[in-house]
Amino acid sequence: MNLRRKTAALFLVILTVLALSTAALAKKQPVVVWGLNVYDPGTAAMVEKFNATNEKYEIIAEVPVGAAGQTLESMVKLMTAIASGTGPDVTTMDRFVVAGWALRGTLTPLNDLIERDGFDIGQYMSWAVEEVTLGDKYYGLPHNADSRAFYWNKDHFAEAGLDPDTPPATWDEFVDYALKLTKRDARGRLLRVGTYSSTSSWHYIHTFGLGGQFLSDDGRTALLNAPETVRGIEMIVDLIDKLGGVEELGTYTEGFAGYAEDSPSNPFLMEDVSMMLGQSPLVGTIARYKPELNFGIGFHPVLDPEVGPVTYGGGWAWVIPQGAKNLEGAWEVIKWLTTEGHVVRAEGDYEYNQSMGRPYVPRETTNIAVDTMLFEKYGSMLEHEHLRKALDVVLELYGKIRMRFLSPEGQLIRAQLSSAYEGALYHRGTAQELLDSANAVVQEALDKFWKDYDAGRL
């Protein structure tokens, strides 16, 4: 073989190697994400945009349902997947269970990545960030949000001789209005109830509004039977009894209606209930199913003037499980999903709703700038003025949100509080007795957890 041929062969080999390595470099790295429902038009638009614009990573959306690590089956799925090294790079998680997963060593702290990139964590609502923070470590980026708003039916107010534009300011006023707004027929059967909420967390607002909390600051002592919570539940029980008792109200409101905030048969939409504490996304449901409903929205009546108006909220986070195969990619994805991704999703949702001839109310995020922008942009497109104003109030609510509780036993605390609250409503015991017993159960679980944690057994 002469020199020319040899050179040509060598050149060919170099070219082939270069071509192959360029192809390998050009191939995007997969980032497996659990919990992105790409059958939702907005989410589909979001994933499509990321994959089209990011040069290095590609989102592989898996487990569109049951990824939350909350119910037993999803806990088994996620925990076993993480433990066996088949877990995703990113997963969604209800923020109140993040602490439990993080303390069990299953989530990746994000501090190093945040510091390295100079990423601004302050762009998210502080209460939502608190929900994913343990000590000084961040275990996720907060994604969406909802708060609890006080809704009232203005037509019912006018009919009962109350000022439709002035909701009750105090608890006493609220009780008085609820009694005035309740209507019965000649035989005493309920035609309308002044207020009712089947949500088992109604009393959270009382605990916060009276200045209480459910856990000590270090998270090791349960305070479920604190005087504020006991008093709060007693106030609600007293009101419900005055209105006819939980059995009658429950039968009346649940016989034919669903309480979910996105249900078209929500009793507030059906005008069966005149005042209600409901989740903020109810505004979107009203816009879609009954835009002409003459309603007001604001803060729950003040319970203690020294504390002032409060509300509480919740939502989801994106977290990176331990052992994620593509940590860098996962970090890129969660940053994008909680910033630009929201905007893309809103565009996709808007277009879908337009195609269906429906009004569009943006979903709330925890990103302050994004929320303000989305509410301004899409809120101004709403036909009804009262809906536009309602969105302004929703933004205002976010300034007064209290985080529920940050605990490895968050799920248990929620369940025990619900059980005590329901027991008190049905007079299975006094609020004090029921909360004492709930507190004992939670404290026992907390003691066990912290004992194992301190001994490094988790």
Partner: protein, 282 residues
Amino acid sequence: MARQHSMTRRKKASLFLTHVVLIMGCIAFGFPFAWLISTSLKPDLQILSFPPTWIPRPVVWSNYKEMMRLVPFWKFFWNTSYMTVLSIIGVLISSSMGAYAFSRLRWPGRDVIFLLFLGTMMIPSEVTMIPLYLIFRNLGWIDTLKPMWVPAFFGQPFNIFLLRQFMMTLPKDLEDAAKIDGCSYLQIYLHVIMPLVKPALATVGVFTFMARWNSFMTPLIYINSRDKMTLSLGLRLFQEIGSTQWGPMMAYAATMTLPIVIMFFFAQRQFIQGIALTGMKG
């Protein structure tokens, strides 16, 4: 004569009462299905209306169209059919063989093993969830449809019990005659027992069909990829599409339920016969 007349009247009254009770039962059981169909054909705002509108005005088919547009229904349908059919085949083969061994063959420790076998029905599924997941992971079956149908080929206590009860009612003489004619155990199983247990097999088939078709928990645990999702998982997607899509969700549920209704109509006679003969009550 008068007594006979009175008896006829009493018989008629009893028949009338029976029909009234049965018709009321039919209405009670048919109500949710009728509601499902009706809602799937309603425009958005009629879903809300109270008192409820039974007959949608106008009837809108767009919920079905929208449902098909939102999710790959036929992909989910294929996955569900695939694992359901294989499960039925597996259950029918393995359970009938197990039942045959437990009811017609004599072998040491048979009844004790049967009792132990039955005892496994008492173990809650939550207890076996993690060990099963680990086994399937080691087999490389996570994110495949195999965990949904392969176990069906290894016998299932409830179905074996049901078939065993049925097989025990068959006269021994038939088997003896076959033995005299030179049949092996396998031939007896295939040519004598199987044709006689058709009603019970139909019952087991229908039970398996319904259980697999509607199964939610198992696919939820083992399936990750969207292209392997089943119909029951798909139904949940509608609740997570922004706000719940009620109309398309009802259309999806109605379409998903249809094969069960069709299946029941086809297997109805044998299914009822099977239940009656095995003494099982739903």
